[in-house]
């Protein structure tokens, strides 16, 4: 019962934060609402007993990436952008598409309740050793290769952004 209440609380934070983020005029406010939304997601992770993801979500997204966002927003002059009425005029098209796709998804999910194995609550004892340890074991044994190769992905991204951002020769 309490868990359900918390679920709805965190879901409200996530969705409400998301909606407020895209509707605020000031970029700083948007960024702060995004933080709220990300915190809501972190809470959802915690409810799923994924402590590691919870911590990573807070440290990386809220602590690292969002602070960078705020820095950039404050460095770039956004006063002009705030005065613009709206970037995209035909917002009702977007709304119609959203409703159509949302309806489709709702229909598909409704007619196939229980098809997602993980959507069904499984009563099982929490595995010994805790979430973080198990994650580490899996990461360094079964998923060793993707884990290592992801570092190449990051390297390419860093090299790429440096090439794109360096001063013109």
């Amino acid at each position: 019962m309490l868990e359900t209440a918390f679920f709805y609380l965190f879901a409200l934070l996530t969705l409400g934060g998301g909606v407020l983020m895209i509707t605020r005029r000031s970029a700083v406010h948007s960024a702060i609402w995004l933080i709220v939304s990300l915190m809501g997601v972190a809470g959802l992770y915690l409810l799923q007993q994924a402590e590691f993801l919870f911590a990573v979500q807070i440290i990386l997204y809220v602590g690292g990436i969002m602070v960078l966002f705020l820095f950039v927003i404050m460095l770039v002059n956004l006063d002009q952008a705030a005065k613009e009425r709206q970037f995209v005029k035909p917002w009702w098209v977007a709304l119609a598409v959203l409703l159509a796709i949302g309806g489709e998804f709702a229909y598909i999910l409704r007619t196939n309740t229980g098809a997602f194995r993980f959507a069904v609550p499984v009563e099982q004892p929490p595995p010994a050793g805790g979430n973080t340890e198990i994650l580490a074991d899996v990461l360094f044994s079964q998923y060793l290769l993707p884990f290592e190769i992801a570092s190449l992905l990051l390297l390419v991204a860093v090299v790429g952004s440096v090439i794109m951002a360096r001063k013109r020769a």
């Binding site: 007619t111 098809a115 997602f116 044994s141 079964q142 290769l145 190769i149 390419v156 991204a157 090299v159």
Partner: protein, 488 residues
């Protein structure tokens, strides 16, 4: 819990090409600041050497077939075929880039390092047996190519192309990732073999409708990467804006790897729901062929023309994919090899002809090239004839096997419409030939310097390859056929 961290020696051999390429790319990055600007071309030569080493590595890996790293990768004939294919594309691209980069005064190590890293991503895609590896490989390859597209930073068009490619590409990858998440939710696994058995098992198989939705979401991501309609809009802008050697690379390497993983996922994991995805690919194949060929008719810019032609060729490949048979897969493999050679060749000529800042890109600029530089024009003619599908060139057998596979799968209408659109295609390729041989030589053709050694090697290698595949197709086709049989 005791966990064995150390992979076995055989497993290391199975990812030898990737190891070589990553090491070489990293070494180039380290050497880059230590080389004087005049000596940057040595880095290119080093990249070339490492590509040949990786080629050798793929052969060594092929001698040790099997899964590696807990089924993350699988080394089989299919994997080896595409590894070799993308590495050869890399070699040709690097060869064609020497002169181009020197001319644009942008010779630097990062260019070569990014090509090597991009190839690592493509090799990973070719051998991935796990959706997580598919995603990581695809992203490594894509991010490197986004940057390569915008590599000439003073060029406005290149900037526009890079940002378009990046935004649309990231969006498409998000669809792919969402599809992967659905599949994980439905089958409890991201391993292709396990997904296959989960979907085959009639007792526990999840709802076909949901799996179909997931497959459709993933289709969006793959269709974008192979520039299949209706997700092809980015292709002309990106190929036009990217430096010509990069466009050569983009239109062949990443595309071949994307097709490899497209085929592997749909023909193995989603085999049991093929009735659901075949109609979708049928429609997409037809649309792609029609849009590509008809839009190419009205293009005057050669790079744009080749971009639309590249869309059309993706359409033919999708026809073979719709056939969903072993000979269809073999036809896809053969066609990709043929297409890679002729398309890299054609783009390399464009890179050479366009001159500094790519001034000469109109079809009319080629006027009289046939008389001013018979050899260059002759090689270009071979590539164009092969793109049309004239007998004795690789393109002919490529199309032949594809439509044969389609007929054997009773895709009569798709075959007829495909052949009709490829007849339309002959017009725009022949137009280039007509301009080259039958018009008075203009200033652009008269002032063309002879190609440098690297470019010459690339052109001759692709032309000879195109002809060999056109005269002795069984050399490649037999291997492709054997690998296709073993794919499942």
């Amino acid at each position: 819990m005791p966990v064995n961290f150390v992979p076995s020696g055989a497993e290391m051999l199975r990812i030898l090409p990737e190891i070589i390429l990553v090491l070489a790319g990293t070494l180039i990055m380290i050497m880059e600041p230590l080389t004087r600007p005049a000596n940057k071309h040595f880095l290119g030569k080093f990249a070339l050497a490492s590509l040949f080493a990786a080629l050798w590595g793929s052969v060594v890996a092929h001698a040790n077939p099997g899964p590696a790293f807990q089924n993350m990768l699988i080394v089989d004939g299919f994997d080896t075929f595409f590894r070799i294919l993308v590495i050869v594309v890399g070699i040709l691209t690097v060869l064609a880039s020497f002169q181009y980069l020197k001319r644009e005064q942008s010779d630097s190590g990062e260019y070569y390092a990014l090509i090597l890293f991009s190839l690592v991503g493509q090799c990973v895609m070719a051998g991935a047996n796990e959706l997580i590896m598919v995603f990581i490989g695809l992203e490594i390859s894509s991010i490197a190519t986004y940057v390569l597209t915008g590599y000439l930073r003073d060029d406005k068009r290149a900037n526009e192309a890079a940002i378009k490619y990046f935004l649309l590409g990231s969006f498409a990858t998000a669809f792919l990732l969402y599809g992967i998440a659905w599949i994980y939710g439905l089958t409890g696994s991201t391993n292709l073999t396990e997904i296959r058995s989960a979907l085959m098992d009639l007792q526990t198989s999840p709802s076909v409708m949901l799996v179909g939705t997931a497959a459709a979401l993933m289709l969006v991501g793959f269709a974008f990467k192979v520039s299949a309609a209706p997700f092809q809009v980015w292709t002309p802008d990106v190929y036009q804006g990217a430096p010509a050697p990069v466009a050569a690379f983009l239109s062949t390497g990443p595309k071949a790897a994307a097709f490899a993983i497209f085929v592997r996922v749909y023909a193995t994991a989603f085999d049991s729901i093929s009735a659901r995805w075949e109609p979708l690919i049928w429609i997409s194949a037809l649309l792609t062929m029609v849009i590509g060929n008809f839009a190419a008719l009205v293009q005057n810019n050669i790079k744009r023309l080749l971009a639309y032609s590249s869309i059309a060729h993706a359409g033919y490949l999708l026809v073979a994919m719709t056939a969903h048979s072993e000979i269809g897969i073999a036809a896809i493999m053969f066609y990709l090899a043929a297409y890679a050679l002729m398309n890299v060749g054609a783009f390399a000529i464009v890179a050479h002809f366009s001159r500094r800042r790519e001034r000469y890109l109109q079809v009319e600029d080629l006027a009289g090239l046939g008389w001013k530089q018979p050899v260059t024009a002759g090689l270009f003619a071979i590539f164009l004839l092969s793109l049309i599908g004239v007998p004795l060139t690789a393109g002919f057998f490529g199309k032949f096997y594809i439509f044969k596979a389609a007929l054997e799968a009773d895709l009569l209408w798709l075959t007829i419409l495909g052949l009709l659109t490829s007849a339309v295609a002959a017009y725009y390729y022949l137009r280039i030939l007509v301009v080259m041989y039958m018009h008075e030589a203009g200033e652009p053709a008269s002032t063309l310097p002879p190609p440098g050694a690297g470019l010459k090697t690339a052109l001759w290698a692709s032309a000879v390859g195109t002809l060999i595949l056109g005269i002795f197709p069984s050399l490649v086709l037999d291997f492709a056929g054997r690998s296709a049989t073993l794919l499942k």
